[in-house]
Symmetry: C2
């Protein structure tokens, strides 16, 4: 019964639509699983090794990136921090959706802030920092509480410094005395007191029509997303519309196609854009169980030129991130209305290993199930839920 | 950017649960897509070539069948017509769920009829046919309308003869004069007037507890399933319970684990078992959009020892088979609440290429959407819907 690998799959000429995803992590994996149901073939690109892989089992495929680009109907990306040359090659095909301009706005906080300013979209007061002198000046204006961020390559709390006192300022200024600002400018943001963070997942189809999931409320711990609640508690048509206006303004400016996630701080009736992500987003994972069509399927539908649909929900849904811990026991999966999604990665501290979607008919029911889930989580994860789940 | 295949995936030692599926068609494909979300790895076995394949892209994997059997937590099957040796090897591991006895009951109509008789479960009056003389005798008793079926390897109308007149009888008797009854006994079934065909999809978990989807009403054309409606129109608790009693009786007798599909003829208040399928079933595809957990996920949950859940629905759902025609245009997929599932196979007459799930809140809404779907189908498929969709 022994058969050796013969690499006989034909990834390009099977008569089906092919979409190439730049990046091969869990977002590409979940796009693959959603797209395969539609009969759309997904090839993921390992952006470091510049080779084509299956994003589920990580097999390196017998096709090179350029050939995949040539045969696909669309190219999309699962993250913004892509090698310049790869991005340029993808853009040159005319098939990259969203385009390089959108990816740049997600990858570089300076480009992002300039975009927001040009569209008069409220965001946190900030300064671009090219030197320690710039920082000194900025801290005078924006202090006493400032968040300093690298303009690129930062995510999940990496590449950030909190300057909450003169002492912090002195120590961080000192730390940055040898920093290469020319290579990596920083952004100093005034730290504001916001009530909560919410996010909007919008999908723009190939005809430029926008579609929306309900607003999601997000809770963080250790710089990472811990929990999303959808629809966001106390959501109103007014708040939803305000967020959608912001989304439309950005998506139209960028000639956007696909899912665009917008993280927002809510301060009373005001929404300030924290950041934008030109891709499917962790705060949209709840749509897998909460909606007829998930963000992953709708993103692929959009970039493949299909109709976007199924974005409403009549459920109360929560998404709990499963970070830095091994696969949970069957007891957790035995809790009714609880759906574990697992990314099949080796365990590493702070690494997103999977997530749990919890579905309920009412907020009370959701809280009850979340309590059960919390009781089955490792302490490192349970503690982060304490504020929301009692 | 050229990288050649390096076959670097590790299918066995990634720390995850592995389930092996015997068969690598669309059912294995849909189990793969559902299981991957749970972090359960699926390896499919090409039962002809006796090699391991990825059931989505059909890549032959760098692992042999025996090694996969040795490393997996469970083996299951997507069809019953398996090579004897493969089935015996799988059974010998002690991991085959459902077991070889269940697969035999689905593969051989004689075993199936004997099982039903031993449990006193009503089914169509029948005779086992070992010769033309047997057939002559049987036709006298069961005629004037008899369906003759091969005891094994028949599906989708293949391996069946209709004897509806003395003339049919004469011609078929003649045709069978050289038939090898020793190799392949036949079954003669009295053709009854039934009101409709319904099916029950039951799932038995590893602890022996049974779970049920609502009954489904099935419509056929050219010997193949054309349309399923769920929940079955005019379903009642009484009817549902009656079907569940039959299922429990069979599942308990077989020490069953996983999805067991039972096709039933309804005649007034009576249910007659037409046939059983020890696997996920075409008439359960609607659960992908209709329920929180699809038959594919629940089958994998059951055989992997996880909790079975999410089998109820508050929707009206239809499943339309897409047979023998090329992938439809985007117009079909643009119809709201319509979900095309595509299996990525080359087109062949009578071949199941995909299916369309339609979801609605009411029967009226369902009919409206089905009419839209029908208007976008090739004539060969639309004509089969005429009886149900006006």
């Amino acid at each position: 019964m022994t058969h050796k690998f013969s690499g006989n799959a034909d990834y390009l000429n099977n008569g089906n639509d092919l979409v190439v995803v730049l990046g091969h992590g869990q977002l590409a994996r979940m796009m693959y699983l959603a797209a395969s149901q539609l009969g759309i073939n997904i090839i993921a690109v390992d952006a470091d090794r510049l080779c084509c892989v299956n994003p589920v089992d990580k097999t390196v495929l017998a096709v090179d990136v350029e050939t995949a680009f040539a045969h696909c109907i669309a190219i999309t990306s699962e993250f913004e921090h892509l090698p310049k040359e790869l991005l340029a090659t993808a853009q040159a095909t005319g098939k990259l959706r969203p385009g390089a301009n959108s990816i740049a706005a997600g990858a570089d906080r300076i480009v992002e802030k300039q975009l927001l300013s040009s569209l008069s979209i409220p965001n946190c007061t900030h300064r671009i920092i090219h030197s320690v002198d710039d920082l000194t000046e900025a801290y005078k204006t924006l202090g006493p509480k400032v968040i300093l961020k690298t303009s690129r390559d930062g995510y999940d709390g990496y590449g950030q410094w909190r300057i909450f006192s003169e002492r912090d300022f002195a120590s961080i200024s000192n730390e940055l005395s040898t920093f290469d600002f020319g290579h990596m400018p920083l952004i100093a943001e005034q730290c504001i007191e916001f009530e909560r963070e919410i996010s909007l997942l919008g999908i723009t189809d190939i005809k430029g029509k926008h579609h929306y999931y309900p607003l999601t409320e997000n809770h963080h711990g250790d710089g990472q997303l811990v929990l999303s609640l959808a629809p966001a508690p106390n959501n109103s048509d007014e708040l939803q519309n305000k967020a959608q206006q912001i989304h439309q303004s950005i998506a139209n400016e960028l000639n956007y196609v696909g899912v665009l996630a917008i993280e927002l701080f809510q301060v009373g009736d005001t929404l300030l854009v924290n950041e934008i992500a030109p891709r499917v987003h962790n705060s949209g994972h709840w749509t897998q169980q909460g909606c007829q069509v998930s963000q992953f399927e709708n993103h692929i539908r959009a970039v493949a030129g299909l109709t976007v649909t199924g974005t409403t929900t009549d459920k109360q849904v929560a998404m709990v991130n499963y970070v830095g811990e091994a696969k949970p026991s069957k007891t957790l999966q035995a809790i009714e209305n609880t759906h574990l999604h697992w990314y099949d990665k080796s365990v590493r501290a702070k690494r997103k290993m999977g997530h749990i979607n919890v579905v309920a008919n009412t907020v009370t029911e959701l809280q009850t199930t979340l309590k059960q889930v919390k009781s089955q989580l490792p302490e490192s994860l349970a503690k982060n839920l304490a504020k929301v789940v009692d």
